[in-house]
Subunit: 182 residues, 4 copies
């Protein structure tokens, strides 16, 4: 069975990044994959100091083990200042090749204004650096404050279709690249 | 007088990013500018949650006010996973246009392996996003573990010259762009 | 007097990139600068083979001399495949530090779909590579087929204001960085 | 059988990009894949004007059909001005989703100075834009003038190993993603 871990790089209480992550996770699950969402708002993570050991922060191991045990990843980030959030970059900094290499990842960004590819481009190159695969399908959710309905659905049918194709590609290519059966 | 604030995106005890920042700062001071270094290892900063207010974290205001009052910036970051550190991105996320717009910045990266431009490119685009100027001169310090002598000097004379040109450009262009006298 | 050279990276007969370039040029001229537009549709340029000499192509020298003699540049490009056009990159490849270093540039991109920063980001990093300055103000004209009126004006007042600020910043910062009088 | 098309973005007579491409092609062939190299020095291609039709340039169709019929791609480019060559970007501009989408690509850059990732990063994002896959393994050949022996072999054993891993990943992942048998 395909195992996917989802992480969002926002600490806001009602975060649109988590709404987007949840939506993607639901569609990935509907295709038969298992999804575990690691909520960075619940984990207690330190700032990365370049070292390996973070005594007093057991959630570092929790993060590392969950990602290490996964076949694929969904990474969602708010676009802050034309790039990924420091929060999600720091979470990635706490991991290394051992955890991330060979994973198949899909990336999502969430913006207050018009959609843009800055954070997605950065995430793609960061994940490449640790030898992860990033699927070509990616999603930028613009004007996030009006993108979701009250019950957490995507308002724009075209954007909703992008989530469908994103989930299909992530599950399908994770199976193929990781040699898992359908 | 030109006022420069220097920030490095590393929390390591003996950080090469801070060594590089110190070197750049010394040369900028030798050209008549004032430099204040904000050491993120001493500041107590929270993870950015997308909001403006961080009660219980007075160092957020200290960071913001220092940057707001500056004419120019030196930003040094270790290159982690082919990009800037989460630590420095988070510090930037805690600030906004109000603090960063119109500043003149020089960027430095520090790598364990061969020099590369990934973190410098990202930093340039992030700073552009908040309408700061980034000088064309930039420095990637490769193989940082052997780049500095015991007394903190740059071993490679060509790299040392890059620091000279970096400092000259930063001070000169900050004066010009901010309309300050020499 | 500030001398600006404008180049657009499109060879289409009725190119939106040239429309955007013309608009920017008019506003730059209104601020007292001289603008020369080099129309790549009229120049006969070869593909760059990495060498310096292109016998039989006198327009290579025309391009190089015009840029070398300028203080600033306006570069407009269609966004093709998430980057600058090969046409404008090739024109830049035909030049070197000798022609481009120290110039102050403003960059514009034109897209058929929604605005995006991909081509602008690439152009910014390419120009940095040859030690040119790129102003923070940049313009992405999305849905270019409906952006301009029949008489070549920008329909969207906010986008029109961006052209104003772009022109002001280009002229002002070129004066400052090149030490020219107002 | 896996069909790979190789293209290099240099027009130099004795191009290091073609040497690198040849080396990668040999190793890909040794793994049982078929490789066709399209030499842009032999093809007569026009500058892309944004249109679909290029009467008088039958090589445009030759390029498009070869790429359309391939499962995977090797793209090698000199790094000019911190990005891909205009030559290879223009060749890509002449193609569209119809030809490039779903292909599995490996990217190589060749530099006169120290290795860097600028052109590789750009190529990765360009190929993503047309929905191609880019393998995590990538190669930057620095100081290309001394990288190859007289008989065209890579001098540095570590770099040679990178070519091995590049070829293995390209063939293996093309098989997996395209559903081809080993």
């Amino acid at each position: 069975m395909v195992k996917i871990v989802g992480i969002a790089g926002s600490l806001r209480d009602s975060s649109y990044s988590y709404q987007a992550l949840e939506l993607a996770a639901q569609r990935v699950e509907a295709l038969g994959a298992a999804v575990e969402i690691l909520d960075l708002r619940d984990l207690k993570l330190p700032f990365c100091d370049g070292g390996d050991d973070y005594p007093g922060y057991p959630d570092v191991d929790k993060l590392r083990e969950a990602v290490k045990g996964a076949d694929g990843l969904i990474l969602a980030t708010p676009e802050y200042h034309g790039s990924v959030s420091g929060v999600i970059k720091n979470a990635l900094d706490l991991m290394s090749f051992e955890h991330l290499s060979g994973k198949v990842a899909g990336v999502i960004s969430v913006l207050g204004g018009q959609p843009n590819s800055n954070a997605l481009n950065d995430m793609r190159l960061i994940l490449r650096w640790v030898h992860a695969w990033v699927i070509p399908e990616q999603i930028a959710v613009g004007q996030a404050w009006q993108a979701f309905s009250n019950d957490g659905k995507i308002q724009d049918p075209k954007l909703s279709e992008r989530f469908d194709r994103f989930a299909e590609s992530l599950v399908d290519s994770t199976r193929k690249l990781r040699g898992l059966s359908a």
